[in-house]
């Protein structure tokens, strides 16, 4: 294993070094003898599939988890990191994907939360001083905003800047960022990259977790790849290709072009949506999905794609229009849609797709209770058998059907959500961002699964922001803009350019 130094090494001693870190949870070895060094002023990309150990390593780094074994060295000296306070003293700060800001406090109060300059009257805050301090900190990261703005008025990108400002105000020298661009627009991403360059120039080190190949090569000075809790390799971007990195992450060759067997002739119409209008902001939606087809539903975030999916499934009320499924008009709650054979794989699987504290088995049979137990009597063994079958069929990595589903990795959780609808015998699968937060290996498995489903006579309506995926797997696609269908693209017309062109606002 090579451990390449950053390109411009200013000091041969790492700012922080972790040696032989191991961390075990009941049933899972999250980190196995991982060593990891951070040099001053470098951007260190941390790569790995979901469940590879990135989050665990990050939590050990910031003191949220205590490693079972292993050592920390700060500027060559051995240190103990047993709490987040210890890590903070070493200048380690983490920008999580879920921000830890208080929405009703203003920017200045959030930056100095718990460290507010005291006013003359005991128990008060020196309002003038905190604003001055906040303006100074915001200035150092080049973020031009009034520090008395409350945080709930800020967009995601701005909240992220506040988080970074907060870290900088605590003299952070190592900034750990977990997929910081996941929720940012292209423009906001550019601004973030500029800020990273600026912090780097000030000697701040960045540990950057990413699933996006492009930014790994655009930003990284060094790359560490984790897999199954082990450090696989440390490389410099100049020395590897994206394909090589993917192979390191998954440990096998992954077919980046997703498998799809296009049917010569699509089957009969399964879903027909006519003039659907809903108070959630969609109007006059006309969609047709045939058996054997994967139909894409694209458009910008906020163009109404999820709202269409929810309206078809009965999750949101409908003002007018008609939904015909399998020859029959359907209107009602999701339980009706489920009985008729419609499945919704929602965008947010943790909050909408799964009962995280329940077992894999409980989650797999929940939509099929009526089908599996027509007498109304529940039989745990039968549920278990059905689940075991699905776990094998979908290759869900879990120690048993009794495992708590929240302990599985993202890709395996997604498979459980899909498995739930396989058990229910659904005919139309509506996928809302099915590959969000899922690693490459699981992605191609999920696409292979969708391909098999439609080949067997089911149909899929797929919402995705990943235009490459839409172009690869869909028979055709609808593009939405501002709550309406802006256009339809046949297989031949289905290109990223066409999707973007139709989806863009023409202000």
């Amino acid at each position: 294993m090579s451990d390449a130094l950053p390109i411009e090494v200013t000091s041969p001693t790492p700012l922080l070094e972790l040696r032989g870190i191991s961390k075990e949870f009941p049933g899972v070895k999250a980190l196995d003898d991982v060593s990891f060094a951070i040099y001053p002023g470098e951007v260190h990309m941390l790569l790995g599939e979901n469940g590879a150990g990135k989050s665990s390593l990050m939590k050990v780094l910031c003191g949220a988890y205590r490693a079972d074994s292993g050592e920390f060295y700060h500027k060559g000296e051995k240190v103990a990191v047993n709490s987040t306070a210890d890590a903070q003293k070493l200048g380690i700060a983490v920008i999580f994907q879920e921000f830890s800001l208080v929405p009703y406090l203003d920017i200045a109060q959030n930056i100095f939360l718990g460290r507010e300059p005291k006013g003359r009257i005991p128990g008060t805050i020196d309002r003038r001083q905190i604003l001055v301090d906040a303006r100074r900190v915001l200035g150092t990261i080049g973020f031009d905003i009034d520090p008395s703005t409350t945080v709930d008025k800020l967009g995601v990108a701005q909240q992220q800047m506040v988080e970074i400002a907060k870290a900088i105000s605590q003299n952070a020298r190592i900034l750990v960022m977990d997929e910081p661009t996941a929720a940012l627009s292209d423009r906001e991403t550019e601004l973030l990259f500029a800020l990273i360059a600026r912090l780097k120039a000030d000697g701040v080190s960045i540990v950057y977790i990413s699933h996006r190949m492009a930014e790994v090569f655009a930003l990284g000075d060094r790359i560490t790849v984790l897999r199954d809790g082990r450090r696989i390799d440390g490389v410099r971007p100049a020395d590897v290709t994206p394909d090589q990195l993917v192979r390191m992450m998954v440990g096998r060759n992954v077919d980046m072009t997703y498998p799809r067997h296009f049917a010569a002739k699509p089957g009969e119409v399964l879903l027909e949506v006519k003039g659907l209008t809903a108070p959630t902001g969609i109007s006059d939606i006309n969609i047709e999905v045939r058996r054997g087809e994967i139909v894409g539903l694209c458009g910008l975030v906020g163009s109404g794609r999820s709202e269409v999916a929810r309206a078809i499934f009965g999750a949101d009320p409908v003002t007018s229009g008609e939904i015909v499924f399998d020859g029959k008009t359907i209107s009602g709650e999701p339980d009706l849609a489920t009985r008729r054979g419609i499945a919704l794989i929602p965008e947010s699987r943790k909050s909408e797709g799964l009962a995280l504290l329940r077992s894999v088995s409980d989650n797999l049979v929940v939509s099929a209770l009526r089908k599996l137990f027509p007498s109304g009597l529940f039989d745990q063994r039968r549920a278990q058998r059905t689940s075991d079958g699905l776990i094998r069929q979908l290759r869900i990595a879990t120690p048993s059907a009794r495992q708590t589903v929240g302990l599985l990795s993202g890709g395996n959780q997604q498979k459980v959500v899909i498995g739930k609808w396989l058990a229910a015998g659904s005919k139309l699968f509506i996928f809302d961002e099915p590959t969000r937060g899922i690693d490459i290996g699981a992605k191609s498995e999920i696409f292979a699964l969708i391909d098999r489903l439609v080949a067997e006579g089911a149909a899929a309506l797929m919402i995705s922001s990943e235009q490459v995926e839409i172009c690869h797997v869909c028979d055709r696609a609808y593009v939405m803009r501002e709550g309406r269908i802006a256009g339809h693209l046949t297989r031949n017309e289905l290109t990223e350019e066409n999707i973007v062109r139709l989806g863009m606002h023409h202000a």
């Binding site: 469940g51 999701p334 339980d335 909408e352 799964l354 137990f373 990595a397 120690p399 009794r402």
Partner: protein
Amino acid sequence: MTDITKDAIAPPRSFLSQDAIQLFYRLLAALLICAVLAVLSDSFLSLGNILNVLRQASLTFFIASGLTLVVLTAGLDLSVGANVALSACIAGTVIHKTGSPALGILTGLACGGIVGLLNGIMVTALRIPSFIATYGMLWVLNGLTYWYMAGETLHGFPAGFRQIGSGYLFGLPIPVYLLLVFLGIGTLFAQRTIWGQEIYAIGANPVAARLSGIPVARRLLLVYTVSGTMAGLASIIFLSRLNSAEADIGESLTLPAIAAVLIGGTSLFGGVGTVFGTFIGALILTLVLNGMNLLSVSANWQPLVTGIIVILAVWLDMKTRRRTQ
């Protein structure tokens, strides 16, 4: 993802489910309390006292068992005590007016059930949080009962009717048989029917449950109606045992029922718990209060002790569950 190496994931350590382990702890605690009381008090182990404990526990259990289902859906029914009072007064009036205990019993159950259904409608159709809906209902029911009774007391019911609460069959109080029946029905319903499974799923994540095709609103209506009907049942037992009904009999019932549910290990956040746990919870609560009586501890201490047990039980529950996960 699928090629996670085999040694990365160990098999689950225990063959017993979390719920079974928690129930075992609770049974152990109940036995421990029995052992301590048997040592401290000569009269504890007498047949009369044990039957008395069971009879007392059964009254708490009837109310708490329906409440358990509500709590499993992450809801709460604060109106159960007030519901018992109203149902008892109405059932009592019907028996007085018609002379038919059967009609009275049916009226009591129906009154309880209707109140529960109204709670369910407030929670589902009007989307009022259950805590607030049933808290409001508590006041409404109290108001109705006080207005209806106007300070009167109903008493003197037919001997046959009084047998339900105070009679014996083969040496055991009749409420104890009812307790066993409803413990069985409740456990079967929660564990062995698809409605039970759906109730757990709703409590664990109501949004995911709805998007998984569970008719959430209908199940919630069912659960609140069952809770109300069980309050109606409790009202009949009360009426028959006390041989009288007053407007204020429900005031001391709701909080002990909630205590039994919590001591029994059902989580207020929903999705976790069992009806059997609630039975043990009712038993532990009754045992402790009974022991205090036997040891001549002033009744003024009872609320304090109940509070400590609830806090202790929930804390131990969280601690042991965290360790085994």
